[in-house]
Symmetry: C3
Subunit: 366 residues, 3 copies
């Protein structure tokens, strides 16, 4: 199946610059694409790779279109110029790589509990295990080895990849995707401390993932301790993320890989947490806030704020901290030289003063 | 099933303040509880939520009881005043939410190896797989898809949630709970480095979890390289934690989510490691020590010490570091102003001196 | 089965110091070994444990051989002196602990898709599920509950532990080992952002692990977004590691536990990343570079460089930063004392100047 480049440009919401009749049969990375395939260049870092690529056509962002000028790395290329290359890919890739969705039906090895409702259009793969009283709605795909507890609801069109696990009472909205090894609804970390060993506080709430949530491989989202842990619609959660009990996340927020959210934190809408960012418990992170990679929110983060560092501070302040720390030795040395110069001009008293100063001695030991 | 509030107060070890005859049918979060349910208020942060809650009665800590005074958020509420609300919950919740424990018996799809001893009171769920020579004691629950290796021992009353995995020779004491996706006894990270590729050092030890240990979802506890990795009785380990080979942890210690303990570290009793805290290998962390969230012990931590930061220092010192770093730019600027003032009074020599000082120039570039 | 100590010394590539005729039946940790067993001492930290050990013989490094002198902790011991004890163990342990490899054959409960090629010497364990069109080569071991997608290739001699998961199109070279709960080839974290909710960019590439790669428990290695994620031959990856889409790692690199590598980063050969080290996306980390535990590469790292900290800087610079930060309060206090002394000599103007300086006031509030 092939498409005219002009048609792809239109579907991508982009502008054609080149031969619209070129036939395209796929989309591949720069180093893999051939003459009948489309690739993309979105950062100057990869311009040389684009130059030597055998790709028949390229998606580019407007600021890189200048490379198509005489002598540029893209000279002579057929281009599709798009403002948002990721959005263009999201539109084009399904043309060439339609989702392989298994057929409706229940594999003979699937174990379905009592009182379950399984929509006939759903797919239950080999060795799937569904607990009593669970409802699986239309078009759901439950792949091999998925274990779903009792009294769960799996909303229309959701997909659970092999080895996903849902504990009892977990609720998934429509079009939720859970990747392999993710565990939703396990007990939170709740213990009481008396004089002896820690005493477990039963975790009797549940976990709810609203419509369109995606959960990455080996991520853990705990059930509420008494109430709910709730992940808002369209949230995207990457691999190996920890979401503690009673956390609430608003619509469309993103948690990158290895993010850790301690319990009872309220995260707003369209919040972005970078790789291995974290949050203490019982905080509020406002709508649209961003916590940079490796940053740790230890206080509330206002809506729209961008923070970084541990403990997290406003992004610009963190950058100043980092810069100041990098040159700290040099800064202090310069200050000391100026002090010494002043003290030298001031006579013997200054030298006596320095003699009492343990700091300089420590510094020289370094 | 309902209980009189006076009875609940007594079972919780608390003091009744209000109508002891009120009937209570459950315990729920402030926003979910109804007039016949108990909820709790343990932090001032949630006092407004308590005020508008429909809960029939509240567990409160003594310092918040004053809110029950005239005009307070809790005015007119029936209260149970408890010193340790978590302990109260640990006592009360099982009344309303008894554990659902599957019936004794071996599911027909469970695969049991040769020479195993499975106590007749144990439950083996669908698709559980048990290796040769493993012993499963009384009252154990092995849920769906659990894979247990050869020559393991699963102590009395332990519970393994779906998809827990134990490698060969793993030993669990009594009343151990392993959550879904946790892997106990996998190979540690041990390689030899010669001139060529890394060479694997076989990991021939084992992992032992003593009585009452709880292990969170997707946590990994490696076997010993030669000897044991041992987690002491009543230790509680959260989700996505890494415990390296040969680690030994004393009784009643807590490792919060995403903690990482490198190999051969000896952790004492009642140690607390906060979220994503870590430890280098071959250290000793003394009894009762605490490593703050995100902190990294890179040296031994004395018993009872509280440390934080990376590398971890004493908690108060870390707080001073953080504070000093936050105002570092301002501190240095103030010092430079004072220097300039002094130099200005000292004539042209001072200006010449500043000209040699690369630090100030760098600072202006910021 | 026992061996003469002299033979073990020869096989270990070491030098015998003591009774070569001593019979050895195993290798165990210092605290567990008995008189017919070999143990090892590689760090002075454990010299007292060595002294009281019942081990019949010890592997030691040359610099500790002096402890065998009169009155030393190893006096009278039979020793094997080796330069590389890990390499010695790698050679000796298989003598005593041969790998238990399950027999060839397909368990009757294994589900094999259409068009698969399963070599007759391979083992497929109970409840293994293999997708259509996958090839399993000679000597492969696929343990219980492993789920392998469609059109995968599992190279000769590879071993997949229980509950390993491979998504469609994943390719494993020869002698690859995947531990339990690891997920290879899941979707990367790719979304487009328009005015509304995040839009998923289909992840249509694949993951390739070359010969001799080992992957730890619960690690996640994403497929490429368009092209490949590729882990070079002989790379060793520990537990709970995240490898983002399009990452490429060169031969023989090591990623310790909880390392996180964001997408599209190119990691060279023999790179070492310490525990919970990380890397931003789209970087290059050169051959032989080392990123210290908890360090975060936020810029390219040159070949051979050793970096640490967040953001990572050269190791020596990081150590200076840490040291400077630890004494920062003291350093600034000493500088301020010198300033005050100078200002005091300069008369009333200096005092006025200090009055304008908000920094000192802030400092006193600390």
């Amino acid at each position: 199946m092939t498409f005219r480049l002009a048609e792809l440009a239109e579907r991508a919401g982009g502008r054609l610059a080149g031969d619209g009749d070129r036939r395209i049969s796929g989309v591949r990375a720069l180093e893999d694409a051939g003459p009948d395939e489309l690739s993309l260049l979105t950062a100057p870092r990869y311009r040389e790779a684009a130059r030597v690529s055998r790709a028949g056509a390229l998606l580019v962002v407007p600021r890189l279109e200048r490379l198509a000028g005489p002598g540029g790395e893209l000279a002579g290329r057929d281009l599709v110029v798009v403002d948002e290359p990721a959005l263009a890919l999201a539109r084009l890739l399904p043309l060439f790589y339609p989702e392989e969705r298994p057929r409706a039906g229940i594999h003979p090895t699937a174990v379905v509990g009592e009182g379950c409702e399984i929509d006939p259009s759903a797919h239950l793969g080999p060795y799937a295990v569904i607990g009593d009283g669970t409802r699986v709605e239309a078009g759901v795909v439950v792949e091999a080895h998925v274990a779903i507890g009792r009294r769960c609801r799996i909303g229309r069109g959701s997909r659970l990849h092999p080895h996903a696990v849902l504990y009892d009472e977990t609720e998934l909205g429509a079009e939720v995707e859970i990747h392999s090894g993710a565990v939703v609804g396990a007990d939170g970390f709740g213990y009481a401390f008396g004089s002896g060993d820690p005493v477990k506080v039963p975790q009797v709430g549940r976990a709810v993932l609203e419509d369109g949530v995606e959960v990455g491989a080996n991520t853990a989202i705990d059930r509420g301790s008494l109430g709910e842990t709730r992940v808002g619609a369209a949230c995207k959660i990457d691999n190996l993320v920890q979401v503690g009990h009673n956390t609430r996340i608003g619509r469309g927020s993103l948690l990158a890989g290895m993010v850790g959210v301690a319990g009872s934190t309220v995260i707003g809408e369209r919040v972005m947490m970078g790789g291995n960012a974290g949050s203490s418990g019982h905080l509020e992170i406002g709508d649209g806030a961003q916590v940079g990679a490796r940053g740790t929110a230890m206080r509330d983060v206002p809506a729209g704020a961008r923070v970084a560092g541990t403990p997290a501070v406003e992004l610009a302040a963190w950058r100043r901290q980092v810069a100041a720390l990098h040159r700290l030795d040099a800064s202090l040395a310069a200050i000391r030289r100026r002090l010494s110069a002043l003290e030298g001009r001031s006579g013997p008293d200054a030298a006596a003063d320095r003699g009492e100063d343990g700091d300089d001695g420590e510094h020289r030991d370094d």
